[in-house]
Subunit: 336 residues, 2 copies
């Protein structure tokens, strides 16, 4: 069998005659080498693990749209691990030890112990949408984006601006949502407005929008605008406002974050980030590391862009874009 292996991997010199013979038999039998055995023997699994929280969320999917073709192109299998609850993060990383040649983690970092173990084992890890000192990262200026969204609202004349985001959770660490909230606070600060805690609503991702909107409108001085930490949360708010008979943006201007595909159809004003590109870049870094290359740019920062559509307008006014939801009248502003 040594010889068969040699021709299949064309590793060493094999006479053309035996080579032929082996190939013929292989074809006839439909023989396929056992990938597991090969992996054990070579120490390379030819697969890479992708860890993501809620991989069916559009923002994550759009990132995967960047990574999948890169990995497939390089001949790697993609093992996907979904992390639906924070407590499952460590189990997710551990389930991949010894099964993959490299790891790409989206919006999630390993525990310090697991990180150290990866380094020790020589298994490269790249983080997308998560800052880190020890591993290569692809990030975005979330605080800057939050500031930009808020300044857009301030510029329209809003002064009572609410924020809606995820409840902070220890594992996702400084989550994107909390960083975006920081930008929101800074923008208010710079505008000389004080933060009104009753306007900051945190909750489980995308849920509870109806309750939150009700609470907001029940306030003595309700907000005239809202910045949500993600498009889906923003859209849930838009829905909730309309469901109670309100109008967007007349009764409430709404800004989202991400610019997922849905945002365009819903004509949502949002802060766009290059999701697919983030995945592609992450995969590139990982592939380079797997190659043993020195990474030239292990810490990449991607640009953000405000996309103004139909869900924002000056307080009490209609949007200029409201009537053509699908043609997407669109104005942009780059973030620093």
């Amino acid at each position: 069998m040594g010889t068969v292996s040699r021709v299949l991997n064309d590793s060493a010199a094999v006479s053309e005659a035996t080579r032929r013979r082996v190939l013929d038999v292989v074809a006839e039998l439909g023989y396929e080498p056992n990938a597991t055995a090969r992996a054990l023997s070579t120490g390379r699994t030819r697969s890479i693990g992708v860890i993501a929280p809620f991989f069916t969320r559009s923002s994550v999917i759009e990132r995967l749209r960047g990574v999948a073709p890169m990995l497939a192109g390089a001949g790697y299998q993609l093992i996907l691990v979904d992390v639906e609850r924070a407590e499952l993060r460590d189990a997710a990383f551990r389930s991949l030890f010894g099964r993959v040649d490299g790891l790409l983690s989206i919006s999630l970092a390993p525990s310090p112990a697991d990180g150290a173990r990866l380094v020790r084992a020589g298994v490269p890890l790249v983080l997308v949408d998560h800052a880190h000192d020890e591993f290569p990262t692809i990030t975005v200026d979330d605080a800057g984006g939050g500031r930009c969204a808020t300044e857009h609202l301030l510029g329209l004349g809003h002064e009572r601006i609410a924020f809606m985001g995820d409840t902070v959770d220890a594992v996702h660490g400084g989550s994107a949502s909390s960083r975006r909230c920081v930008g929101y606070q800074r923008a208010l600060d710079d505008a000389g407005l004080s933060l009104r805690p009753e306007l900051v609503k945190l909750g489980p991702y995308g849920r509870e929008a109806t309750g939150i909107v009700d609470e907001l409108f029940a306030l003595e001085r309700p907000p005239t605008a809202l910045f949500a930490a993600s498009d889906l949360q923003a859209l849930a708010v838009v829905d909730a406002v309309r469901a109670r008979g309100g109008r967007v943006p007349e009764d409430l201007s709404v800004v989202g974050f991400d610019d997922v595909e849905l945002a365009r159809y819903a004509n949502l004003t949002t802060v766009a980030q290059p999701l697919a590109v983030s995945g592609m870049r992450g995969a590139e870094l990982l592939l380079a590391a797997l190659d043993g290359s020195e990474l030239t740019e292990p810490r990449q920062h991607l640009p953000l862009e405000l996309v103004v559509r139909g869900t924002t307008a000056p307080p009490g006014e209609r949007s200029h874009f409201e009537h053509s939801p699908m043609e997407g009248g669109r104005t942009s502003a780059r973030v620093a």
Copy 2:
């Protein structure tokens, strides 16, 4: 090491004392058994392969939303293989041989040779969205759905109804698109209308909508309605009509298929199918087969439902639903 293995798998009787000692050392070293070696030794990889064409399409994602939690819950790793071109189907199946305990294939069947090999190797396969004689399947009555969509249009008074679908491709075999087209033809037939070939437009998935719409409107007697084989194609048509200054549904009624999340936001009339459920059922069947259970219902048929929203109306009229895109006024009809 035999003993360590025994306590970790609590396979045989081990004295409480050594058991403790082993567990302590394991915890201290953070030892994690090598999954590849274990797989080679036991013959079970504890992972299952999921093969799908274009897994980032919303319809596929919504199916995956059903399968991922099932597999994770049963302790299986999910290896995802995307098939972007028909020629890559066989490579996709083969890349998984010897790496997985079972296979779930979405909208795609293996070649007869590969199917036979799977059977021989005792690797269970379940097909979702693809009929098959030899393997368990989860399907939907695509022809019935196509008929239903077309009858809705006929019922509104349309007589010139176009169809837009995917180009037939040998590998995807009788594709969902072509089955839906059959239903369209039958409905026309039953209504005593003859099929006008110039109204049937096939093209690569979701592309070319602009060109197709231009061609359609350039006809001497252009269609007043269009049934698209998928929501994304339908939405592309809606966009194209509006981009050239036309109105939907006044100038063209449009019906889609699938009812993906986007359809609701775009207020699209469509034939809804239970995508997440299809994935869940498929995973259930696979898990049962992996368990060695006899499958009680290896051939499942899921129901379809027409959802009337704002993109359809009698020829030349406005839709009743047009003004409240997000509140989703919705009427339904079950398909046989």
